[in-house]
């Protein structure tokens, strides 16, 4: 094996990463101690089994009808060209109970756990991401706040009609001037002198379901008086706002690159009277509410996209197995084989992450935000690559509308942007490190299957040691991006080691295939981590980052490329 020699070379110079201690503008100091010590295995080994027999039996019964509905009733091409989910499909989804999957059964929902939800959302992702976003914007974020933070009265008032789909929900955070910088939102909610209601003013953009929702989870700035200092500051509060309150209007549907069936619109709040009992969570605690909602729903994206990748791979492989060129089926050619293998690995990792995280959440884990962020970044980028490569395998056919892969490609682009851009999430991952999973403790040995020992070794090598070195704050984001990439690769290695170990342990017929996926992934992931660390440790990196900073400054100043044309004009 090639990587044995790598391990020997690196033994003396174990993988080290910076220990960063620095202050951020918000005067919070984060100590990032990535990859220090060894990985705590409690959450990752063995691969979580999060369903009891009854839950598994029930889930098995649900998979059939849901799949059937999407195969026979939903028409993704029609939804895409109409730029809306067909009416009879919406009705069918409502009757099916698809709008209240995680609402408790006594309030009209199906009371599914996260793992059960993930399995069904995977089916949706495999067929129609436009419908997926309509459902997700409604229940994964739209009214999730009521599930997580609502009081009894709010739950009983709102959840039944939301579960049946009679009311659609939307999550309203983004504004024209506030995207990633969510804390800077300007929508206001001012408490009346009598204290009975808030008056809300502002506008939100790019709200999924904005044009069709009745119930909105809205984030607005509420002026709050500090009892100690007497000073008034603006803090974010989350509100449940009903369109029927009056003053709530929405704009026309936005024209988009993809997920065209999903309604995206601006939502305006004009002197809307919001009763005080519509505050969700604590007054002034809205930012936390927003972050928790997004965090709680993130695993759903990885699950949905693992389904998308599966279905797109089927199309690519069908083509490769049937297309003959130069006298052979094209799947016999190395170029195609590498593409198919890479697509398969990316899907395997994504799927493993999705069910590891949902399993952890169902088992009661309190800290999973880093892993959830990693899974979102990984899944969205992996799916884009897989769709892209599937089109490539299919050649010209992939570019045509009929096979449907071009639509999937267009649908996928937004996944790297919304729900926290991957760029911001990388900073988040790097800054917070692997705190949940890291502690001085057990090593991986004894947890993974003996057949995977070599790959497990690679992971251990990555995890040991730290580098005591300070870095220039102006290089911050260049460094953090690479640190995050390492964290993502390491988590990916851990999840596939766990899953493949389980398959080998269970003597599954496909276990050897999974072992190959796992081993191949670990070799390449290890190489990437080594390469990134080497770069960060080198003096060259400073120069590189400086150069990139200067190039960017020049191009921005010039509002375009700076170099004169090779022809001189």
């Amino acid at each position: 094996y090639i990587y044995i020699s790598h391990i020997k070379v690196l033994t003396g110079q174990l993988l080290r990463l910076s220990r960063f201690v620095y202050a951020l503008d918000e005067s919070k100091s984060f100590a990032v101690n990535m990859f220090k010590g060894q990985i705590a295995t409690a959450q990752v080994f063995p691969f979580p089994k999060a369903l009891n027999d009854e839950q598994e039996q029930f889930l098995r019964e649900l998979v059939g009808p849901v799949s059937k509905f999407f195969e026979e009733v939903n028409d993704p091409a029609k939804n895409d060209s109409l730029e809306k989910v067909e009416d009879h499909t919406m009705e069918g989804l409502k009757e099916m109970g698809a709008f209240g999957l995680q609402v408790p059964a006594d309030l009209g929902g199906l009371g599914l756990s996260n793992t059960q939800y993930a399995r069904l959302v995977e089916i949706v992702g495999a067929h129609d991401l436009g419908v997926g976003i309509t459902l997700g914007a409604h229940q994964s974020i739209g009214f999730k706040g009521i599930l997580l933070f609502g009081n009894k009265a709010q739950k009983e008032k709102y959840l039944p009609k939301l579960a049946s789909g009679e009311h659609i929900a939307a999550f309203c955070l983004t504004e024209p001037a506030s995207g990633s910088d969510a804390a800077s939102i300007k929508t206001t909610a001012v408490l009346s002198p009598c204290g009975k209601f808030y008056t809300m003013n502002g506008s939100k953009i790019w709200i999924s379901n904005g044009g069709i929702a009745e119930i909105f989870t809205v984030f607005a700035k509420t002026p709050m008086k500090d009892p100690k200092t007497g000073e008034t500051t603006d803090k974010i509060t989350a509100f449940i706002v009903e369109r029927s309150f009056g003053g709530v209007t929405s704009g026309p549907p936005e024209k988009k690159m993809g997920i065209k069936a999903s309604n995206t619109a601006e939502v305006y709040f004009d002197d809307v009277r919001v009763p005080a009992d519509c505050v969700l969570g604590e007054v002034g605690g809205g930012f936390k509410v927003a972050m928790n909602i997004l965090n709680n729903g993130r695993f759903g994206m990885a699950a949905a996209l693992s389904g998308t990748m599966k279905s797109v791979i089927i199309k690519a492989v069908d083509h490769a197995a049937n297309r003959t060129q130069f006298g052979n089926k094209i799947h016999t050619y190395g170029a195609i084989q590498e593409k198919i293998a890479r697509m398969t690995m990316l899907q395997y990792v994504t799927e493993s992450m999705a069910y590891m995280i949902s399993g952890n959440m169902d088992s009661g884990a309190a800290e999973f935000q880093i892993e959830a962020a990693i899974s979102k970044i990984f899944a969205s980028e992996a799916a884009w690559t897989v769709a892209d490569e599937s089109i490539q395998v299919m050649g010209g056919m992939g570019f045509m509308k009929d096979p449907g892969v071009e639509r999937v490609m267009r649908d996928l682009r937004i996944f790297r942007i919304f729900e926290g851009t991957n760029d911001i999430l990388r900073l988040f991952v790097a800054l917070n490190g692997f705190q949940a999973g890291l502690s001085t403790g057990l090593t991986l040995q004894g947890s993974i299957h003996p057949e995977l020992a070599q790959s497990g070794d690679l992971l251990n090598k990555c995890s040991e040691g730290e580098l005591m070195e300070r870095f220039d704050p102006s290089d911050e984001q260049f460094v953090l991006k690479r640190v995050a990439d390492c964290a993502i690769d390491l988590y990916a290695m851990v999840v596939v080691l766990s899953r493949a170990s389980r398959s080998l342990g269970q003597g599954h017929p496909s276990a050897q295939h999974e072992k190959m996926l796992c081993d191949t992934w670990c070799v390449e992931a290890y190489d990437r981590v080594v390469r990134d660390v080497k770069l960060l440790q080198s003096a060259q990196s400073k120069q590189l980052f400086n150069n990139m900073r200067s190039i960017s400054a020049a191009v921005v100043e010039n509002r375009g490329v700076v170099s004169p044309h090779p022809l001189g004009f």
Partner: protein
């Protein structure tokens, strides 16, 4: 007419699956293969549930004969609206040799036991394509039969059945109790909704053994060998009519 309807539901290999013959040629591969309710049985269940919704009958009882997994099929019927289920346990060699004769004996015994007014079955199963169970059941009970039904209406003490036959459509009126078998165009089965699947969990499935019903499962048939259909061979092109006639003579066709 009010009362109880028995609906037979069979667990078969899903219609979309590519069937493979077992290496020992004793049958087809079923292990790990996707199974679902026979499509014609779905139509039968739908018709029964519709009759109940119109308040023309009181209770729909879904029956399946087979191993443990047959209960999944009964659950699907319950999710579509059947009131309760009966699982007649047949497994192992008995299940391998289970055919229309045995099933019709079981259904006849159950119909008597449950005092059923109507038995609705699919016209045939997509795995064996026998198209015999409904007819045999009616004969054993000495009940009238309305087979290949594309339309069913209950009128007083009789049933009007429009049947799909080779020549077109035949309308008959039969007495109750009766056996009906569902053809493709009888109705479009509803989708089992997730809330109904949840409600179905509370519905009862009774377990019964064929011996309890006094039924002998011995088969009169023995399967000698199962083979895939022969591969379609390439055609042969000929230049002239004379060549064609010569070739046909050569291969003994004329």
């Amino acid at each position: 007419m009010s009362g109880r309807v028995l609906v037979g539901v069979k667990r078969v290999i899903d219609y979309a699956v590519k069937i493979r013959v077992k290496p020992d040629h004793t049958g087809v591969v079923t292990d790990g293969v996707k199974h679902s309710m026979n499509p014609f049985c779905e139509i039968a269940v739908e018709e029964a549930v519709k009759l109940k919704e119109k308040k023309l009958i009181k209770e729909v009882v879904a029956v399946s004969c087979g191993p443990q997994q047959s209960q999944e099929t009964i659950r699907t019927a319950l999710a579509m609206g059947a009131d309760r289920g009966i699982h007649v346990e047949v497994s192992g060699k008995d299940y391998d040799s289970l055919g229309p004769l045995q099933v019709s004996k079981i259904l006849a015994a159950l119909a008597k036991k449950e005092e059923a007014q109507l038995i609705i079955l699919g016209k045939q199963a997509i795995d064996d394509d026998c198209n015999q169970t409904g007819q045999m059941t009616a004969a054993l009970l000495d009940w009238p039969q309305g087979t290949f039904a594309s339309e069913v209406s209950l009128e007083a003490e009789k049933i009007k059945v429009v049947r799909e036959i080779d020549g077109g459509l035949e309308t008959i009126k039969i007495n109750t109790p009766a056996v009906l078998t569902a053809d493709l165009r009888l109705n479009t089965p509803r989708y089992a909704t997730l809330p109904n699947i949840m409600k179905a969990k509370k519905k009862k499935i009774a377990n019964v053994k064929p011996a309890d019903l006094g039924v002998d499962l011995t088969s009169r048939l023995e399967v000698l060998r199962v083979d895939e259909p022969p591969q379609r061979e390439a055609g042969v092109k000929v230049e002239t009519v004379e060549d064609l006639v010569a070739k046909l003579k050569d291969t003994g066709k004329i």
